[in-house]
């Protein structure tokens, strides 16, 4: 308190001493002296504020540092450049393999369906040959199973990393959609009731559909 009073006195003194020249201008030295005194008078305030601001900045800095480390822990580039493209390729390969196998099996079935059964021996030979091709085509299941396992592993990895990040920073989902394209896609899906195949037990079966149809 005493210090502040003496500073106030000092300021009053300098204010009194500040004179003006013939043109009414104030000397720069006098202004600087006044500024210096005033600045010194604010020292204690600055120090108090500075300490709490510094503490807050340190906390923010440490939070940002942790967040950077956790974002790095997501290994988004690794996911984007390696795992997700690979998973996409695996799924493409699954679609291709199942399509190829289905076509082979259908070709065999069509060949049997159209075959002339009059000549018993020739018919049996053809059926045996086509059945063998069907067995061979079914081997796709083993490979597609392995590919899908790899995709499931990738999804598990993404889930684990994103969940850990969201949990660490207590992140809540934002309202609405990620972008306009997604919003349009969702709106179309809702309007046209596009849900796609349901998980086992989720949708209704043919008997239940028939019941809905027979209901008035």
């Amino acid at each position: 308190m005493g210090k502040e009073t003496s500073r106030a006195d000092e300021i009053t003194r300098v204010m009194k001493e500040i004179g003006t020249d013939a043109n009414g201008d104030v000397a720069i030295n006098e202004i600087l002296s006044l500024a210096q005194i005033m600045s010194r008078s604010m020292d204690s305030v600055y120090r108090a504020v500075e300490n709490s601001i510094q503490r807050e900045f340190r906390e923010i800095g440490s939070y940002i540092e942790n967040m950077k480390s956790d974002i790095a822990g997501l290994q988004a580039n690794d996911l984007k450049q390696t795992h997700l493209p690979t998973a996409g390729l695996e799924l493409d390969a699954v679609v291709e393999a199942t399509e190829e196998a289905t076509n082979t099996i259908m070709e065999c079935a069509e060949a049997i369906m159209c075959a002339d059964a009059e000549d018993h021996d020739a018919y049996k030979a053809l059926v045996d040959e086509q059945i063998m091709k069907i067995f061979e085509a079914c081997s796709f299941q083993d490979i597609t199973g392995q590919r899908i396992t790899k995709v499931v592993e990738t999804l598990g990895m993404v889930d684990q990393r994103v969940s850990r990040f969201a949990e660490r920073f207590k992140i809540d989902d934002a309202e609405g959609h990620f972008d306009e394209e997604e919003a349009a896609r969702e709106a179309r899906k809702k309007d046209l009731l596009l849900e796609g195949p349901q998980a086992k037990g989720d949708g209704i079966n043919q008997d239940e559909v028939d019941d809905l149809f027979s209901a008035a």
Partner: protein, 127 residues
């Protein structure tokens, strides 16, 4: 009343494999005049160019879905009487109710077998 197996049937599905399966099943049931379309828009063009005795359509297709196709068919004076069966993986109650409201004649859930297809075609034609 017997079904006219010579009637032209339009099968609409965006998966060629599915079209092939349905075509083969129809062939087994005695229907040989089968045309195909891979989405609602193409189906509508074919329906306006030729008179079909039956439409068998998937629901989930782009750019025009089977549900939109059904509504277009029912809203068209010349096509509104065409029997329409939906064969789809969309198996939620609201889908079936919406399709029924829009005027579908029958609804088959994928995967299905030849017996189900036959039963539903018979039902549509009152056999």
């Amino acid at each position: 009343m017997a079904i006219d197996t010579a009637m032209p049937i339009l099968v609409v599905d965006d998966y060629k494999t599915m079209i092939r399966i349905i075509r083969n099943l129809l062939k087994q049931l005695g229907f040989n005049d089968v045309d195909e379309a891979t989405d609602g828009t193409e189906a509508l063009q074919k329906l306006r160019a030729k008179q079909y005795g039956l439409v068998i359509s998937d629901w989930n297709m782009e750019p025009m879905t089977g549900y939109e196709l059904l509504k277009q068919v029912r809203g068209d004076d010349k096509l509104c009487g065409t029997p329409f069966i939906m064969i789809t993986a969309e198996s939620k109650t609201e889908n079936v109710i919406a399709a029924k409201k829009a005027g579908v004649n029958n609804y088959i859930v994928k995967p299905f077998n030849a017996a189900t297809l036959k039963t539903k075609i018979d039902a549509v034609f009152g056999v």
